[in-house]
Assembly symmetry: D2
Homo-oligomer: 369 residues x 4
């Protein structure tokens, strides 16, 4: 069975063991002909991989892992036991009292670097956001993938397709469950509506998020730096104590303002500015940003997973991406190899990731097994 072999080829000296899920298999609530369940020949255990896609895989702008967000029933979390969830009361959907929240402005801030998982949004079979599995999700990322930071309500998480209420509840749950376990919980609060984006920023501050990120408006697109800054500034000023990240993803937004230009003088406009999620293949822009802003200590997190090694070569601090949900362990090994530096070994890991993504690209859909 070719799928099996392709997948096993990805297994570099057996380290994929952490992907094995021994718990009872998830009772999938829907059938999908393109998402076969398969086993490795070696251990006969089921391996579950969820590809959510950053919609940038392969350098194409189109979605390659079609999430079909309009059906709102596609995503499921590794290990989620949906059977138990449905009858439960959805009591979690409350606004957390601010008093209980960690005060992010007090503790010395840890630099955001390494891997950040762009989280998927789990759904119940009836199309509701499934908050009950976030706790499990946190534990899985930390223990199985060694990933301790998350980026919530971004592209992978389909944040733009959720309602404001859904986004708030998800943010609350991640902040709450990530307490003492995660290093950073970044909430993507960008929206087409400025007042809604501001509302989400205030909310993220209130619940104690480690940072907020804002995607550029993409219906009426800003066409120059000033227009873009004007929007970002109005959102950032609603959460002045929360580190602010610009979420740069031109293939999806069509907003191509260069980051090097954007950063010039940005601290005067947005004092809380902290860095960029850089999901573009313009590495000249990234390199110049890194070089010019050393004094500012901005954080540059690369968002095109399959090119991460190339971004590291020019000095990226880390990465935000969907693949770190399930390839976080392997990518951490690549980061270690790069740090030595052992470029040949790092390249092997990058090749494996690329091979896997190529496989997924050809499959053209969600792999779930």
């Amino acid at each position: 069975m070719p799928l099996q072999n392709r997948f096993e080829a990805l297994d570099l000296a057996g380290e994929v063991g952490e992907d094995v899920v021994e718990s009872p298999p998830m009772r999938s609530h829907r059938k999908r002909q393109l998402a076969p369940r398969f086993q490795t020949t070696s251990d006969k255990k089921e391996i579950r991989v969820i590809i959510v896609g950053d919609f940038l895989l392969g350098g194409t702008e189109g979605p390659i892992c079609k999430l079909d967000p309009h059906h709102r029933e596609l995503c499921s979390l590794p290990g989620a036991q949906i059977r138990d969830i449905t009858p439960q009361p959805r009591a979690l959907n409350r606004l957390l009292p601010t008093a209980d929240l960690p005060d992010s402005s007090m503790t010395p801030r840890k630099k955001l670097q390494g891997l950040v998982a762009a989280t998927i949004t789990p759904m119940t079979p009836d199309g509701q956001v499934n908050l009950l599995v976030i706790r499990q999700y946190v534990d899985y990322l930390v223990s199985k993938q060694n990933v301790k930071s998350v980026f919530v309500n971004g592209t992978t998480g389909e944040g733009l397709s959720l309602s404001i209420q859904e986004r708030k509840r998800l943010a609350e749950e991640w902040v709450c469950q990530g307490k003492d376990k995660l290093d950073h919980v970044i909430i993507q609060v960008g929206a087409l509506s400025l007042p809604e984006s501001q509302e989400l920023a205030r909310h993220a501050a209130a619940i104690g998020a480690s940072g907020i990120a804002v995607i550029a408006p993409f219906f009426f697109k800003p066409t120059n730096k000033d227009e873009l800054i004007a929007f970002l500034e109005k959102v950032a000023s609603e959460a002045p104590a929360v580190p602010f990240y610009y979420y740069h993803i031109p293939p999806l937004t069509g907003v191509k303002i260069r980051i090097e230009e954007l950063l010039d003088g940005i601290k005067e406009r947005i004092p809380s500015f902290q860095g960029v999620k850089f999901s573009s293949t313009d590495l000249l822009d990234l390199a110049q940003c890194i070089n010019k802003n050393k004094r500012e200590q901005f954080e540059f997190l690369y968002g095109v997973d399959e090119q991460l090694l190339s971004a590291l070569a020019i000095g990226a601090d880390g990465a935000v991406g969907s693949t770190y949900n399930y390839l976080g362990g392997k990518t951490n090994l690549m980061l270690q190899a790069f740090a030595k530096p052992d470029l040949a070994l790092a390249r092997k890991y990058q090749f494996l990731t690329g091979e896997f993504l190529n496989f997924v690209i050809k499959l053209g859909t969600v792999v779930s097994s």
Copy 2:
């Protein structure tokens, strides 16, 4: 002064007289260097023109009349007396009791044809939606432009940049003020979030809108007919008794699914399907749609204002556009000339409109004087 001359050139035998506003000039709440106030030499009266742009003028995909929606303070209505408005209580923001509403399903439906104004969204100086001027707006359209149908919360109205609450209030006000004055009040209820779009559809039905229109999702874009229909169907089914229009505007959404293909069998999926706002230059597609769907009596309203005559030639029923806010009178004359048919005269009107739009395109901004 060249601006003056260009504008006067548009005046075909003096019919622009209806644009003259004799009331005290609007106290503009902001300065804009590119929006000069100018007078005609003939009568020394101030002429006020608001160009809101369909973002399709000139066949380019980029906005030519930059609305800068992020500032939320740009648009102002012809004749709005902003001075009076600010102190007033915003008591209008209530949900209208359904009992008072016209029952659209009972009265014999009037065909949607002729001109439909894509309404702008008036704002107060402090960035709130200005509901108080909608009544005036309705009267102006009917009496000055002879336009009796409106398309609310679309691209021109910046619907996608408003919050759900703002969209609801605007819809309510248009339906309420349009009662007994307007023939059709179509509410654009499309949104990136399916539940929000459904909520808006239910709301539009509850307040008695004549129709709803839905733009295709444009962040995660549907890539084939089935995906698009699946989304539209879920919205339409929330307002099953309200005529449904698909809002086709590929230059802004990037969704290029051909309408001819979309319409094939659509009544089985969306029984309330009634027509298309067709904002594309693919006139082959439009012609085939019109030809094939005669039996269905769908309504095809063209949305590229400067090419309307070309769309009429192949059988379009009417037009939805921003220019009908201020060039409705002239365009109605074009429709009459076309109906005779006096193509040479119709062409003259289309040329004038084109000349005017070209002028605006070169200006590249909102003209407000």
Copy 3:
């Protein structure tokens, strides 16, 4: 057999009779699974249709009738009897003595209007340009399609994929065979290399072409009017007595400079400037061109066949396109209906053409039977 029915549906009261070829069927030199030979049920005669495509059909920029020009063996002329051709000496490939040629500058020039066929380039089975069938081709166009003008070496004719020598020979043969039969023979002389384009322009003048047309350079693209004019001017000045046409086809060249802007003052730069082959869907641009240049009497020939009726509505003089090779007769009937004006009838013809093109678009390849 559905193909049959679809084709017959195009037959409006039997006028397609002129497409029936009674001569022995062409022995196709290659097999093509997607190019089925079919018969009408009514008369059991073979009908031969060659779709060459303007690569604009359907409003898409991609080729829909894949010509596969790299194989150089695809096109064949209606009625060509290839069996007879191969053994013949290729004696025609000589430069015609200038003395024999019609002196285009002496006779009063006939306005270029109505239909112009964008000719295909016939090839022999071994990949040579088949000059021997041009005579037949001329007779076919005149007698069967009532088309008396041609546009040679354009997109349809794959001029850019031919060598300079091949282009010259084709031009010679069309001018020679068209003498006393055709009204206008326009030679497309644009090339990526300026010296080669100039050479082709001098050659076209020497052989007595009625006009030359030049496509914009499309590798290094001119980005403003001045750059474009500079190139066109240098070509035109090599053939100063020959009417000059700009070949505007932005979907293929990527050169989007508006024609309205281009024409402003063009006579001072290019005294021989005569008109535009306008293959764009920007009808605002076309309308303004027509309106503003009445005094100049420029000729505007529309090049998006399936939208011709819409271009006529705003005043186009005629059309250049590939479909007039085989739908010239029908399109002439549309022109007549439009002239009355009987728009309803004209629309029927446009619908038929559209239906036929849609059929071909779905087939996605050359139809040859």
Copy 4:
């Protein structure tokens, strides 16, 4: 004077000294307001820099160093003394006898790696190709930039805008002058016309070129691997003993077929296949190509100069680009730093190059002083 400072900032420990030209300044045959002549403050000597651009600088698809090829008078070679050249007979324009040429198939082939200069095409003031300066050009590249391989008639060299004869003469001159001085002379023989491309391939073989490269046809674009291979194969087979390179530059050609897919089985179709000039930012594609084709020992030369370090990180063999004409020395230092590996130092060089290119991008034109 800011320009000065920006340029000096590029001077890392004085190594740009080799760019200083002490000979009498070139008498420029045209004025250009955007190409200021400037001096460094340090030595008051004139520095001459020619930016020719790969039209990919900055990751944009548009030309940033506008060559205005239609004027055919822009480029001039560093050190060219145009005064002396004009009156000279153009006796060099002969076809070199094959007997004199190096037999590339006999000597053991040196791997193509490191830096390859994409040569510009020098012109005389009257628009002729200036063959007389090629000898100087070769010496300059070898002695001043330590660059020993060239890529002739590519994008930088405006090969597609030259006539076939001009391309042949240039190729001859480079092969002739490069004998015993250069390691590799690669001739780009791609053309829109297949017969012309084949003719250029035969010619390149006859004169003893080290390799030929072929760009994808970009007017009628191949849309899948088979179409592309079919074209390449027909060119390659005309020069079966000459190493063949595919010139992949999707931003200019619009041909986006992935190289990984193209290479699969390519040796069976094109036995002389040797490698790829890879001018794309799809580093996933590049990485997979490198990884999968180790056994084949294909050569991968990266063509986006400002991202070279990122391509080296994933295993590129070298680079072909326009900047190596004048930044070859510096880029060689980057290659050395990368080989150690001293990534921090390599990054410094890449930053300098990026800074310089950014400067040029903002200037938006040819810098010549």
